[in-house]
Symmetry: C2
Subunit: 207 residues, 2 copies
DNA sequence: GATTGTGAATAGATTCACAGCT
DNA sequence: AGCTGTGAATCTATTCACAATC
């Protein structure tokens, strides 16, 4: 399997989008699809689909198109989601709780294996499949569960220190919901989801 | 005020980031800042800051830098968030509820003025500042409140129909949390936030 | 005949480097 | 002296168009 690590974030996002489309097609019983038809159905660009896919290997059949099931499997392996990824959530507030209950993660082969909070009233209570644990047990929890991905859902003021705790615990990737510019550790990948930035983008186009 | 509408989404996102940085600087009492210092503090590119800002007008003072308060005000006006934007939420499930309670919106000059759900058990109950209303009252609610932005937080299966209802009700921008490729109406701007795509991006880099 | 895979062409975004202000 | 604003240069991404393949 080709596995270039210089893929652009844009192309990587598109791979995820293609995967979502393929899953959808599969539920409809479509077994083969051409780039043009896929572009039409999901409002994408046919030449871009071909270029993106060809970049990782020749997945298609000329004159025919792409095999939906096969391509799906290849893309899942490419993204590394052919196996289940254990993930943890830090912060059982509104957003952390909503994410713990989010059904989409299951379908994407991610599983929430632990939730941490520093509020003694929350520690010990049940949330989705897990019991909320004290934040002090973070390092132990990460070691036990083998979690590599963490979802950081704590208030902005304490995001940096919690991020540092995750880094120290050996987490490799962080999805951050706190609206702050984190001081990053070089070996830990961070993706920040800033709702306010999305809203501001929408506000701009209202004018 | 320069107001080109051909600004790239990338540049627009950066403007939001600059704004976040400026607010932070203001709380620290910094009144003037140079592009280089700002780049260093927040891990940005100095020449890009200058280019982005210059694109909308000459906001800086040569030899000195940028006036924090003044620049902040200009950027807020540029994004159209100098006035408060009423927003509504469709779907009072986990994510909708978390967003209704999200304190960040207040600081960004957005206000949740109504929440809609189709579950009779939820309709009539209080959530944050508002009483949850029945989804059938959507059009009336939008008209009453003057809401222009909607947050779509319903299950994937019903996202398309709810989106259509928003379009019909006269909403101009939608922040969509359902992991689907919506069939878009040309006059309504949509920004989709797909948590699974973020997770998949992180998973890729674990390899 | 149809569709992929791909080099060439175009378009877009970022960085460089320095003239122009304060 | 120091920093912005900006044209030129570079780098990156997308689209085009067609030869290669089934």
């Amino acid at each position: 399997m080709t596995q270039p690590d210089d893929i652009s974030p844009l192309a990587l996002n598109r791979i995820s989008v293609y995967l979502r489309c393929l899953r959808h097609l599969q539920t409809e019983g479509v077994s083969r699809i051409a780039s043009q038809e896929m572009a039409r159905r999901f409002h994408l660009s046919a030449s871009q689909i071909r270029k993106d896919l060809a970049y990782f290997g020749e997945f298609g059949i000329r004159g025919v198109g792409y095999d939906v099931a096969h391509l799906r499997e290849r893309l899942e392996r490419l993204l590394g989601i052919q196996r289940e990824h254990p993930a943890i959530i830090i912060g059982a507030g509104n957003i952390g709780t909503a994410l713990a209950l989010f059904p989409g993660f299951h379908s994407g082969n991610f599983r929430i294996v632990a939730v941490f909070d520093n509020d003694p009233n929350k520690v010990g209570t049940q949330l989705a499949d897990v019991t909320i644990r004290d934040s002090h047990e973070l390092a132990a929890g990460v070691a036990e569960t083998g979690a590599e991905i963490a979802i950081l859902a704590v208030p902005a003021e304490v995001a940096q220190e919690n991020y540092q705790a995750l880094v120290d615990a050996g987490i490799k990737s962080v999805l951050n919901f706190a609206p702050v510019q984190l001081e990053l550790a070089p070996e830990v990948r961070v993706k920040t989801v800033d709702l306010l930035i999305f809203m501001e983008e929408l506000a701009y186009f209202l004018q």
